[in-house]
Symmetry: C2
Subunit: 201 residues, 2 copies
């Protein structure tokens, strides 16, 4: 039996991840997770409300890291540069914990119930990031759009890192933000096009 | 009793939306929705699998409109310009149906269960849009990022339209895409910053 609460928690997470990969999320019970972790089922529920949350334990750390990084980014940085700083810090948390975070992202990507939970968490984190940008003085309207756009690039980079682990997450992140600049730089002005009647499908 | 299936369907959607606004989504039963629509509960389940789906009936139309608009956008347009065309067309569907789509978006925004469903639908639509861009010859890597970024701007514009209905959704959409250009234009190159050690938090 694991001796400390933190150790039991870590073993439950590892056991859940293994079982979800071996048998699939839907086929795995909390009793099986507890058994593999060497604890009883009551201990599982002392740590996690359900078998989805066992894979989302790191959200509080990620949120704290993002908020801190946005608040502490150098003065005068543009919103997306602030977010690149913040996502680099968040990315290092994922990268430092790669033996867990990589299979975790793979399991989530192929399990609709986990994907739904992840999307809800991401939406909540995106709103928190937007608030943190507003607290730095980024105008209301731009803060929300910047947060959603930056999150799209972060999510895209994390997915690319899963598919191509030969590059670091940081490298994928830099590339995603550069791709975003390239994509946007080649856009036509939207309001001007709308006024002249151009660009309508 | 409504005479045709299509009429029953429309009445069920209207009744559901009214009840969700009056009493909240969680407090409303399918029996109550059926009663207000003047049909029995079996008819509800002939049209919808559950009380969440009753608000997502337009997804197939939206998907078809987006796919068609991406495929038909003029040759030579840049990826985000193609998406602006496509989201303008999708926006017109929302705008033409404003008496339903505006309160619908409000109810979704404040109901976590509906928000989760909407996020899952949006993720699926974003993947479809990325595929449609790839079919136009947009490189693999850029297609996914462009779809996610474009969707972020579309979502942002729809939210802004709910909050400020004095401007059209099309005007909000044009502004969101212009804001995206502005945000990206002021970014520093990410890979160069990473290589020189700059930009790290």
């Amino acid at each position: 039996m694991p001796r400390s609460g933190a150790e039991a928690r870590r073993r439950l997470q590892q056991a859940a991840l293994e079982l979800y990969r071996e048998h699939g999320f839907d086929q795995t019970t909390t009793a099986e997770i507890a058994a593999r972790a060497g604890v009883n089922e009551r201990t599982f529920f002392r740590h996690f409300p359900d078998k989805r949350e066992v894979l989302f334990d790191g959200e509080a750390d990620l949120r704290a890291a993002l908020m801190e990084a946005v608040a502490e980014a150098p003065d005068g940085l543009q919103p997306l540069d602030v977010l690149l700083c913040a996502f680099r810090r968040a990315g290092r948390i994922l990268e430092d914990n790669r033996p867990f975070s990589e299979p975790r992202l793979q399991v989530i990507a192929k399990t609709p119930a986990l994907r739904e939970r992840e999307l809800a968490k991401a939406a909540s984190l995106t709103e928190a990031v937007a608030d943190a940008l507003r607290a730095r003085g980024v105008p209301e309207r731009l803060a929300g759009l910047a947060a959603q756009t930056g999150w799209a690039a972060f999510h895209h980079a994390a997915q690319a890192w899963i598919d191509d682990p030969s590059r670091s997450l940081e490298a994928h992140l830099s590339r995603a933000f550069d791709d975003l600049r390239t994509l946007s730089a080649t856009m036509s002005p939207a309001q001007a096009a709308a006024e002249s009647g151009g660009g309508r499908a």
